[in-house]
């Protein structure tokens, strides 16, 4: 009989990581669409690095930046009473960093795909930059953005390397489904891992299928 608690934790982590990655990713993606953004190619490269960087390297950076000896880590601990690393918060941070490039890439492509004349028209019709973004830019980029969010959720759900480095593998605390599957395989309990493997596989395939459908409709329209 499978213990589903790691899977439940994975869903919780993926939920919060997707919200964070979507918020940050759309803002960064929007900034990257501006031709006047200074150093946007460098920022794009840095933001995309987690896609190709070894998880251990990314995890190392997070530990250095947010660990107990860092300024951010100490401030966090002073305010909230617990550290970021080796907690569920760390698992959310790890999953967010892993999925952020997917949202940024999708958001940038979706937002750049909107005819800039429509945004100019909104401005001349009396809309400020925020209203033009919310009422014209965002709805017209919605399909691409939703595709990015779905990819981010699927990616967050299955994060392994960065989560292991930043949050550890603490059963009942930071052990997500991907880590639990690894532990079960290591202890020759393949059958017990089967349930979680099936769920993660199904969600990934469904997410990718829906992403394909969304972007296909976008191409046709």
């Amino acid at each position: 009989m499978s213990d589903w608690q790691p899977l439940v934790l994975s869903f919780q982590v993926a939920f919060f990581a997707t919200i964070l990655a979507t918020t940050l990713g759309v803002l960064i993606g929007l900034w990257l669409t501006s031709p006047r953004a200074i150093g946007r190619d460098l920022i794009d490269a840095i933001a995309s690095a987690p896609m190709v960087m070894p998880p251990t390297v990314l995890g190392y950076y997070v530990l250095v930046a947010l660990g107990r000896n860092s300024a951010v880590g100490r401030a966090w601990e002073a305010i909230f009473g617990s550290s970021i690393v080796f907690t569920r918060t760390g698992a959310v941070v790890a999953a967010t960093l892993g999925s952020l490039p997917l949202v940024i890439k999708s958001a940038r492509a979706a937002l750049e795909g909107v005819d800039p004349t429509l945004l100019k028209a909104a401005r001349t019709l009396g809309a400020g930059p925020v209203r033009a973004f919310v009422t014209v830019h965002l709805p017209l980029a919605a399909r691409g953005l939703v595709a990015g969010v779905m990819l981010a959720f699927a990616r967050s759900l299955g994060d392994f390397g960065v989560t292991l480095m930043v949050a550890g593998d603490i059963p009942g605390e930071t052990q997500t489904a991907a880590l639990a599957i690894y532990d079960l395989i290591q202890s020759h309990q393949e059958r017990a891992a089967g349930g979680m493997v099936a769920v993660l596989t199904s969600i990934t395939i469904v997410a990718l299928y829906l992403v394909n459908k969304l972007t296909a409709v976008r191409r046709e329209s």
Binding site: D115, K120, A121, A122, R123, T124, L125, G126, A127
Partner: protein, 246 residues
Amino acid sequence: MKVERTLEVDVRVERAQGRDFVLQAKFVAPPGVTILYGPSGSGKSTTLGAICGLITPTAGRIALGDEIWFDRERRIRKPVEERGIAFVFQSLALFPHMTAAGNVEYGLPRKMPRAERDKRAREMLARMKVAHLADRRPATFSGGEAQRVALARAFAPEPRLVLLDEPFSAMDRELRRDFIADVRAYVDEARVPLLHVTHHRNEARALADRVVLIEGGRITASGGVDELLPASRDMLDDSLRIHTRE
């Protein structure tokens, strides 16, 4: 009684159109139709962009009556959305995710009650003879219908200045004549300046009260339509003549 305001433009835009193009434009557009006439790449659209605030000039001043919209020296720059401009783009730029009524409502004041906005939008669509399109989206419009909706959207907020960036370029002659009549009627009633970019001589002659000639980023002449765009002979270069076979 309506206050009549004249648009005064005296600007320099460097590195315009993403290249080493310099626009130096000085002219006035009193209430009525002023045609900005010149070949492609002469700086017509850049001029409109600077007037509406989508492009920030390097130097100069733009004012409508006694209201200063841009003054580099005095560091005045009124935001685009506060200038009260109607801009009809060449592509029309109708919002594809909104109905015709939604497009027209978009430019009406937010403080106006929703029901009144809807009523005003439908009235304006009816005035432009496209009331039947109110609940349909732009993807289902013909070219002529889209242009009528675009004009309804432009005129509904009662703009203080109207800018037309060749919106009639894809229309056949008959349709264009109808639109010219609609635009003329609006300007005569509202008594606002309308600046219309075109390189169609007959279109210019049919609409213009005044003509401003622009070439290579410079204003070369301004004055009456008969003086600058005579009906019988083409005074301009060959690049413009191709557009006059109507």
